[in-house]
Symmetry: C5
Subunit: 374 residues, 5 copies
């Protein structure tokens, strides 16, 4: 259900899940800092990467106690925790690394917007990972703590994160990642999360391309719903991405003692990527609006077209029917020569037909001249 | 009536109460600082929580005089006042604690927006509690004074506040609340008020979910009113919540001597909650707008659909009727062989019926090819 | 006509007067600072309140010369001038108190927005009084000069100002007004002007309440005009009120030597009132927009409703008429047994009627099933 | 053509000229600072006002050389140049007074927005004059250079500027203009330009007043175009006026050595005028939008009205015609007593007419009760 | 395909290419700073301009090694690189001039927005060139590095840049370009790019002018698509131009050690040009919106017009047909004198025709009086 809470389809029923998205688990009366994880959160899985320039230990931990020797041996330790199902474990990690209770509360309340909070001795960062498995946009909160010799990351559930490229680079010791400190690791993780937005954005671009060809066909009833779904999805994506802007500006500019000047340059680059994503999302939204307008115009034109053609057709027949009705009247022609003498006229019928034809042609001509028949 | 003044339904007649909401009770000629409470405000009820880390006295006060000994005995005294019906009592409290006349005026004029004012020696904070009893959104002003050794809170009426969690924590001495100073109590109270927004916001989320399924059914006439009501309610909620942003930023950032650095960290967390609420309200409003658009599109489509089908039906019959009218004309067939010879033709009637059928089929075919029948 | 220039109805013809509102009286070639009052401005009436904590002199002045002895006797002198019809008098006052020519120019050009200008030795403030006599919103410019021992106020015309509460408090020596300096008097006057907005805002609230019940009735043609009038009035009010925000912020924050710290606290309170007014006006405007939307939706729905019902009715009769027309054809039944044998059939007429009834019922059933009859 | 480039009608064809307005004359490969005036710019006309408190020389110059003796004799020299047809003359003026090449480039590229640029030793200001000769809004760029002892103004063409009041005041030595320095002259010139906006704004006010009475008449087809034209004109005016705000703020606030504190007070006044103009333009634009909405509503109402009345009329006749058609059927009454016995009934015809009348009355009654006939 | 990626038509199918525009080439797992150019990027072509005030060497380089002697001989070296097809070459240039890996990554990821990044010792600037070959708007990224004695520019492909005017000025030694340092060259290049926007903007102005005459003709179906295309094109152009504003503000204001005060003045001028472009684009967009509104109004008016005329025509004939139907009824006149005596009346037929004519005239008169026939 934790999963359900953040899952919503991007293709129609989006609004339902969205509205229900927002839940706070604080029990009335709890003091702040008491950890209340989502009810069905999986048991925490602990994975550690401890490394120096020339050595790397990667392993799953059975317990928190295994961390202490690694911290002594290596200059940088990255502990990743998947799932919050055991509060005691979380609490012990918090105690061991000196993580602030309020930050821990934010870790388990997985509705946080991206942000950076400076606590004494640790820097707490929240970012939001996005993915697009199947037909649904999913977001997952990634909470990062940066300390002098460690980075700790918390994820809502195992699997499906955007951090594999970083793990791979650590293993292959590619670039400067193993030679740099934990601040560079923080950058690499945040950058990987931001890079994870690009394929998702691209998915929306593809959807827009598909819609673009459908937008001229007013008969397709699903176009409106599809446009609406894309717009909703873009809105969601925008809401997830937007706060990263401020968070990264904060990371890059402010004088956090834990972040070196060299890493700041990299964070500025990451910030530029966020700006780029926002820029594309903005453009996509405007394209979505334009498509909706074009589609509605096409629908409106079609209705007008139909009504116009049909009304013109009716209008032509109405006087003809009237003429026919006149000669259907039963006035007694024998009583007086004024009473419908046409009926007894030799050319009465041809004359009547001619008048009708002339009327019809006259009207068609008038409409043509007015430009009403296209 | 004080209650009525702030009560308005969220489900339709909202606008009525809302427009009348705004009243100022200043009598012309009164100097500022003269207390003029709402006319039917209940008599003030005084409740006090006086505590230290290991002791707690909680009692209802019969008079203001009982406060002095408590203040001497305990490092923190929280006086809560419900109702403003007796100006003399209010004035004595103000004198006793040195509360500024302008602040007291704001206390009884219960239309204040959330704000923080620094008076010499006391910090005056206004926040707005929301609740959703029955089908109506209610807001109530909570005024807080923070002094060196006290917090005083004023509420418009007894009962129905959002502060029970704080009382409970004081009683159970849960967390650090009893060990911390009055600034932490101020934080705890404000935080409880902000937390009170979450269930109300959730209520609106549920309403939106309900509407979401109704939005595709253009026959439901109440949908429009319901959407409108939700949008109005969200607007109200947003107006109540919005100024807390600035107030909390003020509390957290500015250098108020009465607030310790440690409490500031907690206030920052509270500020984040306000941001989160604003974020969700914003999303809900956009969802509301989208629903309105979808509903109006659905209604428009239905009307177009009906008109189109009916017009097509008429258009098919109009030429047929014309043909029938023609053969209803009374031209004298005996007078001339030009006059409606079809009438005397052996296959005249079948021929006429065939022409009609052919015309109808031709038109239907044309409309089908044009794609006008769906 | 000066009166006409600022008078405009809030109930319909508002736009006319509004557009013509804007006039500058500068004659080409005049140097700045030359006083050119509105052409039909009344003769100035001078009233003075000179007071100390225990004495008060209130009188109408015959000439400017009577001021000098009062200034010597009293710590605070408040001179109020109504009307600008005699430039010489204005000029003598300006010379006597050292008022800057540009400020005096602003005094007589009564289209100023609210503002605060610091001239050497005097503080020049413009605020805008509003009133709602009859059915028309009126605004009047109040210009205030604050000096070390005086306040001078200029009004466009005698009577109808918002300052009576201040006069009353001076006479009754209510509150601290007589004990405080001229800066507190400035505050009291500005506060009285701002307080004068509240009843006017309330009037609009009442109008909105009245409209709220009319908005569901699409037959009422005047609703649209009335909504439009309220919206225009609110726009005007907003334009008058808005600049006070900046002016009061300026008064309260900036370091004007003439304003004491104590008075600054009061001005902050006054600033809060302006914010409150803006907030309510904003809400009213949104309510006005919502009402317009609701009314237009109601009107649209009614039109759709009518058209739908009528079209359905026509559509049911069209096939019936066609059947009747068919049996009105004159094919000669004697010539052949193919020619309308129904006419000679014993049950021909009942059969035809049955077919018609069946057709009608079939169509009604179809429409019912489609949900087109409500 | 230079004239054409900036001329556009405010009454309909505005968009055409507007779109073509934007031209840059830089020839590829030219270095910045090379003067390329508009192709058909008139020959420069040089006029000089050289003055001190008690002397004034005003004359047209034959050549640039006549300036040197005037600069020596008088503390302030104002050189006005109309037309850029001779680059050599412009270049010599630039050399003589030390005007920066980039500023000179801006002088001849007459599409500049209002701005203030500080070059070493001279202050370069651009403002935009507006006028409304005939039915067209015209704008003309006025470039001003302020030096220690001179003001130089450049205009695109002779005649039609807003500066006559300043010339007149110089001649009459009215106010302090002759006693003050060149910075006050700069102020006086800019103020005259700003004052020139007032009558133009008033023109638009008059147009809006005229439209206001036309807006209720949906039959007037030209109203829409006229509203559109006024809105376009206001947009243009707003674009011309808007940048003056920043320019004047710059002049008034920044510490330009060439501007004295005393003149700064006057510039603040001028800045207030710009704010006032923007304020009125904003109001006019909202009025224009409101008018458009009202007009479109009126047009829509009229169409609805017509359609409704006509549809009701048709709907009443359709059942009547059906009844008549029924009794026009030719079933053989002789064959059977079931076949249309009404035809042979004595009161058949009166009965049929009665049924028709009853049907008609019934429908009218129904429509009346439904409130569909108004 | 690299070319295709950035090519999109401005005349209709714009949205397609646009949505697909956004691609990131980072391979998962790559460390930042690894160069991954677009897949089909052409081989880099190296061109160098090395110059002093009196000497200029311009040549195509075969390899990077030829640069060293030129850097020693000349105070300024401008290396231009077209195409990124050979990563090794790019890497060697980066190493030779000390270009930061992140900046090099931005060089080959050709989706950057205009920006300025200060790296230790070099200033990295990105601008975006626009051109309008055929009927398509194309943009190309130009990346510039400024060092103490060099400027390096990177372009996506050879040919089609906006820099020819600068090359020409270098060759002709026109203006101060050869005498100034590399910062002035940077300015000249950026200014040339900005100047390249003007003809493109003018193209859109011409398109708007063309549309302006078409906008009144509701029969032209292509107008809507054309307006939409122009609006899309303007949106794209605006997105390309907008970030230059911030970039140039950064260049001009910030204290980059590599840029002299003298050049700053020139950059301010360039900044003014960007503002001017934004201003015109804004106006064009508003004109586009207005045109769309006008066109939609014209289309709506035409439909209303047609429907109104046709409905009026029908309405006139409906009562006439009814009268004819009445006299087409077959009541037996022989049976009773109540049964349709008009049929046997001598003037029956003329009477019936007269009634019809009178009805028709009455209706036409009514419609005329109501003003419904125009």
């Amino acid at each position: 259900m934790a999963r359900n809470r953040k899952t919503r389809t991007a293709d129609g029923a989006q609004t339902t899940g969205e509205a229900r998205r927002f839940r706070r688990q604080t029990h009335p009366g709890d003091a702040p800092g008491i950890l209340v994880p989502p009810p069905d959160s999986p048991k925490p899985e602990l994975t550690v990467f401890a490394y120096s320039a020339d050595q790397l230990v990667e392993k799953k931990l059975a317990g928190v106690d295994e961390l202490a020797p690694l911290r002594q041996r290596f200059p940088v330790v990255w502990l990743n925790v998947d799932g919050f199902g055991d509060t005691a474990v979380l609490q012990r990690i918090a105690d061991l690394f000196g993580l602030h209770p309020l930050a821990m509360e934010d870790v388990v309340h997985v509705d946080q917007r991206a942000k950076v909070d400076d606590y004494d001795g640790t820097l707490f960062t929240v970012v939001r990972m996005v993915s697009f498995p199947g037909d649904e946009l999913e977001t997952e909160q990634l909470s990062l703590f940066l300390g002098k010799d460690f980075v700790i990351t918390f994820q809502e559930r195992p699997g499906g994160d955007s951090l594999s490229p970083v793990r791979e680079r650590l293993r292959r010791s590619s670039g400067k990642i193993r030679r740099a400190g934990p601040d560079y690791l923080l950058y690499a993780l945040v950058d990987a999360v931001i890079d994870g937005y690009f394929p998702v954005v691209e998915r929306f671009g593809d959807k827009l391309d598909d819609l673009d060809s459908a937008v001229d066909d007013p008969k397709n009833r699903r176009t409106m719903t599809a446009i609406h779904a894309v717009r909703s999805g873009l809105l969601q994506l925008r809401r997830a991405a937007w706060p990263h802007r401020e968070a990264l500006q904060n990371l890059q500019r402010d004088t956090h003692a834990l972040i070196s000047d060299d890493t700041r340059v990299y964070l500025r680059d990451c910030y530029d990527h966020v700006i780029q994503i926002m820029d594309v999302l903005e453009t996509y939204r405007e394209m979505g609006s334009d498509m909706r307008d074009l589609y509605l115009t096409a629908v409106g034109n079609r209705t007008n077209e139909i009504m116009r053609v049909l009304t013109i057709m009716s209008t032509i027949f109405i006087p003809l029917s009237f003429i026919a009705s006149v000669y259907g009247m039963n006035f007694n022609t024998e009583r007086s020569r004024f009473n419908m003498p046409e009926l007894n006229w030799i050319y009465g019928y041809p004359f009547a037909l001619t008048v009708m034809a002339a009327t019809a042609l006259g009207l068609v001509g008038y409409f043509l001249r007015k430009g009403w028949l296209r």
